[in-house]
């Protein structure tokens, strides 16, 4: 069985993991509970900004992370055209629905924000980054 054919983690189970690992996250159900958005806060560096984060996810889909506040400045790197965060390289390391959002997407979001703060200070992205060739950057495509 290939990795992407493994059992998808139900949204309610994802929610349990998020609430176990991170304080102050709440869930809003959409589409008759087939889709949801988690709202929460992350403060990657003590004494710095507290970010309001939204993670939109549909079972079997790809989590989309956006920062609600404070605003991410328009020239910030590693974002898609809809301003959602590029947290991993989909071709090298695709995200599968059998993975736990609390163990992948949320920690990566905190890490992204940490490097974003440093980028603000230095104009240099110090986090690990995948090289981006001449192909246009596209998010991971959801499987049907």
């Amino acid at each position: 069985m290939s990795k992407n054919n493994k059992l998808l983690v139900p949204l309610a189970v994802q929610d349990l993991h998020i609430k176990k690992c991170f304080d102050g996250f709440s869930i809003k159900w959409l589409q008759h509970e087939r889709e949801c958005i988690w709202f929460g806060t992350l403060q990657p560096i003590l004494d710095r900004s507290i970010y309001q984060v939204a993670i939109r996810y549909r079972k079997g889909g790809i989590p989309k992370v956006t920062i609600k506040s404070p605003s991410i400045i328009t020239s910030a790197p590693h974002r898609y055209s809809d301003n959602s965060l590029c947290l991993y390289q989909p071709e090298e390391q695709p995200w599968y629905g059998n993975e736990i959002i609390a163990h992948t997407i949320v920690p990566w979001t905190a890490s992204w924000l940490y490097y974003y703060e440093l980028w603000l200070d230095t104009d240099t992205w110090y986090g690990p980054e995948a090289s981006h060739d001449t192909k246009p950057k596209t998010p991971q495509v959801e499987s049907a």
């Binding site: 176990k20 690992c21 991170f22 304080d23 102050g24 806060t41 992350l42 403060q43 990657p44 560096i45 003590l46 004494d47 710095r48 970010y51 400045i73 328009t74 020239s75 910030a76 790197p77 590693h78 974002r79 898609y80 055209s81 590029c86 947290l87 991993y88 390289q89 989909p90 090298e92 390391q93 609390a102 163990h103 992948t104 949320v106 920690p107 990566w108 905190a110 890490s111 992204w112 924000l113 940490y114 490097y115 703060e117 440093l118 603000l120 200070d121 230095t122 104009d123 240099t124 992205w125 110090y126 986090g127 690990p128 980054e129 995948a130 981006h132 950057k137």
Partner: protein, 373 residues
């Protein structure tokens, strides 16, 4: 717009005492403790000595060359027993014998001991100067009926009496405030001490007075501790100026700074001319800080950095650096590296998993793509 916080972190790292000072502050007090513990001519009681002052507060700023050590004696301060004046003399005599014991201070004493140590009596302490190391110890005898962590009594040689003091209570209070305000309190204390050292070669107010001001403003809610450090620094100077402006306008008056623990006046000997100099520097510093903050907000980073350099000293002195070096930035980068770091339940990144609390490992990843156009 970039933030100025990293520049302040770099400034604070530049204000760390040099390694040899830290080593002296760590190694000398236990040697002195052992010496006094076994010294029959100057009986001390358990636990004999305790580090105090800026090293105990973890708030030294720059090349701090002196360490304060409390020395505990038995006695009754109300009866002036032992006599406050005599205690200083006895401690001086006991420490003078150090010069005859070449091994008492280990590696800190080499060659001709008498040529290396200089011992002097001060108002409340005995001062030992290690000439070869350019390092000072201030040994303060005390009667501590309930131990070092409670209020105690130190001698006043001039008045031949014991006076109340609570140096370790002050350390505990600073620690509490610092924890409550995410480490900003001590950083602010260090910045103010450095500001004083850099701007005032003479007529400097004592560090303890500055600390007392800081504690008072935090206690009374005059400082909004949620603000970033650069803003807080400007606000801190503003608080000082506003608090003492009326006194400045009153000819010949000097402020009386209250001890943050016991409430008595800790600045009875502040001279008017010294106070006036301090207020001039505070006013200048406040105005420069405000301009630097405005410049930064407006995106004039070069002007802002030049402003902060005027306040704290710049590239030449190695204080407020215009361009952050890669090594410093990398040391800040390390805690968040995916694959080796952990994230707390509030989202804070750490490189070592603490023993308590919920921490989730950050799995390896690579952020994707180039800057978005």
């Amino acid at each position: 717009m970039a933030t100025i916080n990293l520049h302040f972190e770099k400034l604070l790292s530049n204000l760390q005492p040099p390694d040899d000072r830290l080593k002296a502050a760590r190694d000398l007090p236990p040697l002195i403790r052992n010496y006094l513990k076994n010294c029959s001519s100057f009986p001390t009681i358990e636990p004999h000595t305790r580090l105090a002052g800026s090293y105990a507060q973890h708030m030294p700023s720059g090349d701090v060359k002196d360490v304060d050590i409390l020395v505990r004696l038995d006695g009754d301060p109300a009866e002036n027993d032992p006599l406050a004046k005599q205690v200083i003399k006895d401690l001086y005599n006991a420490l003078s014998k150090l010069t005859k014991l070449p091994d008492a201070l280990g590696e800190w004493q080499v060659g001709q001991v008498e040529a290396e140590l200089e011992i002097e009596r001060a108002r409340r302490s005995v001062h030992v100067y290690f000439k070869n190391h350019d390092f000072h110890l201030d040994l303060v005898p005390c009667i501590a009926p309930n131990g070092f962590d409670a209020p105690l009594y130190v001698p006043d040689r001039g008045y031949n009496e014991w006076v109340g003091s609570h140096p370790l209570g002050y350390v505990a209070l600073l620690n509490d405030f610092n924890n409550q305000h995410k480490g900003k309190v001590k950083k602010l204390g260090i910045l103010l001490k450095h500001f004083r050292n850099y701007q005032m070669l003479q007529r400097k107010p004592k560090s303890y007075w500055l600390g007392a001001m800081l504690v008072e403003y935090i206690r009374n809610g005059k400082l909004d501790m949620t603000c970033p450090l650069p803003v807080l620094f400007g606000d801190f100077l503003d608080c000082i100026y506003n608090q003492f402006a009326a006194t400045l306008g009153n000819q010949d008056a000097v402020p009386h700074i209250k001890d943050p623990m016991l409430g008595h006046d800790v600045s009875p000997n502040w001279q008017r001319t010294h106070f006036e100099t301090f207020m001039r520097r505070v006013k200048e510093g406040r105005d420069w800080a405000n301009t630097a903050l405005e410049d930064w907000e407006a995106g004039n980073q070069e002007d802002a950095i030049a402003g902060w350099q005027k306040i704290f000293g710049g590239d030449e002195e190695g204080y407020f650096i215009s361009k952050l070096d890669d090594e410093f930035v990398k040391s800040i980068v390390a805690p968040a590296l995916p694959g080796v770091s952990f994230v707390s339940s509030q989202g804070q990144l750490v490189s070592t998993k603490p023993t308590t609390g919920v921490y989730t490992p950050v799995k390896p990843t690579k952020f994707y793509g180039h800057e978005q156009k």
